[in-house]
């Protein structure tokens, strides 16, 4: 076990994946000599060369589109999008090509592409640097979406994402990049499937489902709550592992879903809809969503009011119990 930040764990995971399979190439803006603006690819160009860690021109559609071409040739490109707000120029290639190529070619051409996106707020950034675009990708058939919540999960799931023969949108909670945790670098990344939700803390009274940056917040809230809170890290946003959440809700009777993204048509809606369907007779209160508001991400001095924090999660827990 080693203590390291999530950024370092991702770096270690990328390194392992590159050692394991020589057709893994990293591609993105400033990922080479600079090591990426968050240093997640630090040192990899030095060690693997400019042919495997490739600095890209400043054009996101181009980066994803050429990666599709590389994947058609059997490469496994791992794309870095510099910030969440800059993935939209690539949206067309992602939705029309990345997600659909396997289908379009009747199974002949796989698209083992990983698109890494630092996402979410909480770091005091300027506009377009704090977006939570996960719902767009989860709604898009053909994509898989993963988001780690701690260094160990990051280390393993980035390797699993790269090993997957399906395209994976890999969302990295940027404000957790510097959080430290224990990482077992010898852990077998393929021992467990990444496409499952994880019960991180068992509890009896209320289930809190969350992911990515909100997991730490929810764990802290569970600690502070005056009832027994079960915290579930969804981890795989597509496919969504509702079974684990439903099993929990059948016991607790209460569910709070927490995310940073705006509420309307966000992930919370899907979780609420599915759980309401599957746990109709177990739910003692409606599923409650604790999320960002339906506004563009605000100026950074307002973000603490926008983002769900410990108090808002606790308020949600209280409200479902009091219903």
């Amino acid at each position: 076990m080693t203590t390291m930040t999530m950024a370092k764990a991702l770096n270690a995971g990328l390194r392992r994946a590159m050692e394991r399979e020589r057709r893994v190439v990293l591609f993105g803006e400033d990922i080479g000599r600079l090591g990426g603006v968050f240093r997640v690819t630090d040192g990899l160009q030095k060690d693997f060369g400019e042919h495997r860690v490739i600095d890209a021109p400043l054009a996101e559609s181009g980066i994803v589109g050429t990666s599709v071409g590389m994947a058609m040739r059997g490469f496994r490109p791992v794309v870095e999008i510099q910030f969440d707000g800059f993935v939209y120029p690539a949206f067309d290639q992602i939705v029309s090509q990345v997600a659909k190529t396997l289908r379009r070619t009747d199974g002949a051409v796989r698209m083992p592409l990983v698109i890494r996106i630092p996402y979410g707020g909480g770091i005091g950034a300027v506009e377009h640097h704090s977006e939570s675009p996960e719902a767009y990708f989860v709604h898009t058939a053909g994509l898989r979406v993963l988001t780690p919540s701690d260094p160990q999960a990051a280390y393993l799931t980035i390797q699993q994402a790269i090993a997957s023969d399906d395209p994976v949108i890999y969302l990295e909670p940027k404000r957790r990049y510097w959080d430290k945790g224990e990482v077992d670098l010898d852990a077998d990344p393929f021992a467990l499937s990444p496409w499952h939700a994880r019960v991180l803390r068992p509890g009896d009274d209320v289930t809190v489902a969350c992911y990515g940056p909100m997991v730490r917040t929810c764990l802290e809230a569970a600690e502070a709550a005056d009832c027994s809170v079960e915290v579930i890290d969804l981890q795989s946003l597509s496919p969504l592992d509702i079974d684990v959440v439903a099993a929990s809700v059948r016991r607790t009777g209460h569910l709070v879903v927490v995310h940073e993204a705006s509420s309307t048509a966000g992930l919370g809606a899907e979780v609420a809809a599915r759980v309401s369907e599957e746990c109709f007779y177990s739910l003692e209160a409606p599923v409650l969503r604790v999320t960002g508001y339906d506004v563009p991400y605000p100026a950074s001095r307002l973000e603490e009011h926008f983002l769900p924090d410990l108090d808002r999660v606790l308020d949600g827990v209280d409200r479902v119990r009091a219903f």
């Binding site: 559609s61 181009g62 990666s67 058609m72 040739r73 067309d92 289908r103 051409v109 796989r110 399906d166």
Partner: protein
């Protein structure tokens, strides 16, 4: 170049079928090769007219005609080596033909029984791309991959004149130049992007776009198959030998409607068509072959019979394509197991079989 509109285009065969010289390009083909090109163009044209007819009869959902662009498509497609890779658009039936894609596999997509069609890996030819410009980036990425592999394959990416407006095509130019990718951008300037005329817009010739991105561009008479081959071969060879990308603008004309859904009488004059009929790519080569004594009436008749057989094969083949079972829509959405989709598939199968049961019980 005599023709004012063509400007500085490379030409080796005049519309009258006369062999002329170009300063920079030449080509020497055997008689068998020349006859083969003629055959290709005639068969592709027949494929196209048959598909148009099938669409009218309701057998295809849509058809995008390649009429008039046979020299550009066959000439470039036949310039590829077996190991090269092509990225065609929805209109490039002469390209897929040249790559050996079975015509029925092309028609399956337009009939709507398949989204894909052929095996792009085995045939080294991507399936058609409909979202304008997307495939230009795929071509560059594929070429970058060839480069990383140390292979000397070249890649050709097709798009139309209208597509040069799209960000993706211009980003493809940027990436190709930055990585010196072994790519030939083959732009068929067929004068129209649906109802949008090329000439009346931006006056800059399309091939000149390349220079600003740092690589050469060349305009070729797209209805002259010899010139198209000479220019494309040179560009591919340049790519294979590490010279980087080239933009080839094939100056040609969309003789038919944009697609079978389109009504071009709303936006273009019949006279334009008449002018271009005189530049027909097939007639031109035919006159040349005849004049040079390379092929005679007997050969032309034989090709016409082949074309008639092809038409029958296509007609019968399309009409007898099996309908895909409903649950195949769940195939190939993901390469790896996906429980949620499996549940949906099972639901659909149960649901649909409930009707059969009702009826049969």
């Amino acid at each position: 170049m005599v023709d004012g509109m063509l400007g500085s285009a490379v030409q080796l065969l005049t519309p009258e079928g006369e062999r002329v010289a170009d300063e920079d390009y030449d080509i020497s083909l055997s008689n068998a090769e020349l006859k083969g090109l003629y055959r290709d163009m005639v068969l592709v044209r027949r494929l196209d007219s048959e598909a148009t007819a099938l669409q009218r009869q309701g057998e295809l959902g849509l058809w995008a005609s390649s009429l008039g662009q046979e020299a550009a498509q066959v000439g470039s497609g036949r310039s590829l080596l077996p190991g090269d890779y092509a990225f065609p658009t929805y209109r490039d039936h002469g390209v897929t033909w040249s790559r050996g894609v079975p015509p029925l596999e092309v028609l399956a997509m337009f009939r709507g029984v398949s989204t894909g069609g052929w095996d792009p890996i085995a045939l080294r030819c991507a399936i058609y791309t409909i979202v304008i410009g997307n495939q230009a980036l795929h071509a560059v990425g594929y070429g970058m991959g060839a480069q990383l592999d140390g292979s000397s394959e070249a890649v050709i990416g097709y798009f139309g004149d209208g597509a040069t407006d799209e960000g993706d095509v211009n980003e493809a130019f940027v990436f190709a130049a930055d990585f010196n990718a072994p790519v030939v951008f083959f732009c068929q300037n067929n004068q129209w992007a649906i109802s949008s005329p090329r000439e009346r817009k931006n006056p800059a010739p399309l091939y000149e776009r390349a220079a600003g991105f740092g690589f050469p561009g060349v305009r070729v008479d797209g209805n002259d198959i010899l010139a198209v081959m000479a220019v494309t071969r040179a560009a591919l060879e340049r790519a294979r030998s590490g010279g980087g990308p080239t933009l080839v603008e094939a100056y040609t004309y969309r003789m038919a409607a944009h697609t079978t859904s389109d009504d071009p009488t709303r936006y273009r004059h019949a006279e334009e068509l008449e002018i271009w009929r005189l530049r027909d790519p097939i007639e031109r080569l035919k006159v040349f072959l005849a004049r040079q004594g390379i092929a005679d009436r007997g050969y032309f008749d034989q090709i016409d019979r082949e074309a008639a057989d092809l038409a029958v094969m296509i007609r019968d083949g399309v009409r007898s394509m099996p309908e895909p079972p409903a649950e195949t829509m769940f195939d190939h959405v993901y390469a790896e197991p996906h429980e949620q989709l499996e549940r949906q598939r099972r639901w659909l199968v149960d649901y649909e079989s409930s009707f059969t049961h009702e009826v049969s019980s």
